[in-house]
């Protein structure tokens, strides 16, 4: 099976795992990206693995990305005014 895939220029699951993170970062060449995308379309396990890494990135971005303290202060000020019934 692996041999057939190789002969057809397709990637095996091991090949995809090797380049998956670079692919998700947009750091692979176009040909590799196309092959990975095609593999992910057909392979549930690799597609799930890809989802796990994408979820990690979203989670980090929601929870750990730096935020502007000025914006947060201004929202806190707004919230305090709402709390005092000054804005409705």
């Amino acid at each position: 099976m692996k041999l057939f895939k190789k002969m057809r220029g397709e990637l095996s699951c091991d090949d995809v795992m090797e380049v998956l993170q670079s692919y998700l970062d947009g750091e692979t060449d176009a040909d590799t990206a196309r092959k990975v995308a095609s593999h992910l379309d057909d392979c549930t396990d690799c597609d799930l693995e890809s989802s796990v890494y994408q979820n990690i990135r979203v989670s980090l971005s929601v929870n750990k990305a730096p935020i502007d303290p000025v914006v947060l202060d201004s929202l806190r000020h707004f919230g305090e005014r709402v709390s005092r019934g000054e804005i409705d």
Binding site: Q21, N55, V58, S59, V62, L75, V82
Partner: protein
Amino acid sequence: MTRPESEAEESDASAEAASAASTEAFNRYVLPELEVLYRTARSLTRNATDAEDLVQDTLLRAYRAIDRFDGRYPKAWLLTIMRNANINRARKKKPDLLDDPELTFERSVEFAETSGPEEIVTDPMFDASVIDAFDALSNDFRQVVELVDLNGLAYQEAADILGVPVGTVMSRLHRARRRIRDHLGEHGLDSEANLPRGSTMKDVVVGSAS
């Protein structure tokens, strides 16, 4: 027999008490979640200005509903409010494309539901596990994750800043993420059912509250 003045006084007093209770509940349950709300809004809207508007809208809606909130799971409650506010916002953004109100509604809902992977924002268990694993990374590893995943740099840009070969960035980054991924696996959070993305935010919030 009750005199009208005292009736009015009683009514004023009860309105004041209700308002004081709302203020107290709002300060206790809502304001401490402000940073989470803003982070979530930024992820939902992918735009700093829209994110601020969404948080403000959420705060107003929360204040109006605070007297009906039972005090359990404030974050889940607030994220549900934010999700609804965001869907409303998406509807308002696309009102003029079509005259048929039903079609307009459908298109807006579609817009709201397909605005990208960041739309599905948060699952507290998943997030907590990711954060634990991230915080446990060594400085070298954490640094590359910060540069690439949090600040959006390309591998080469991160390599230039750190003064290391691009292969080093790639190797550290991939190993760092692999550790986070393995940490999720050790806690059974790497299955389809546990991934926040792919389910709706409402489901995630309800799931986290049960």
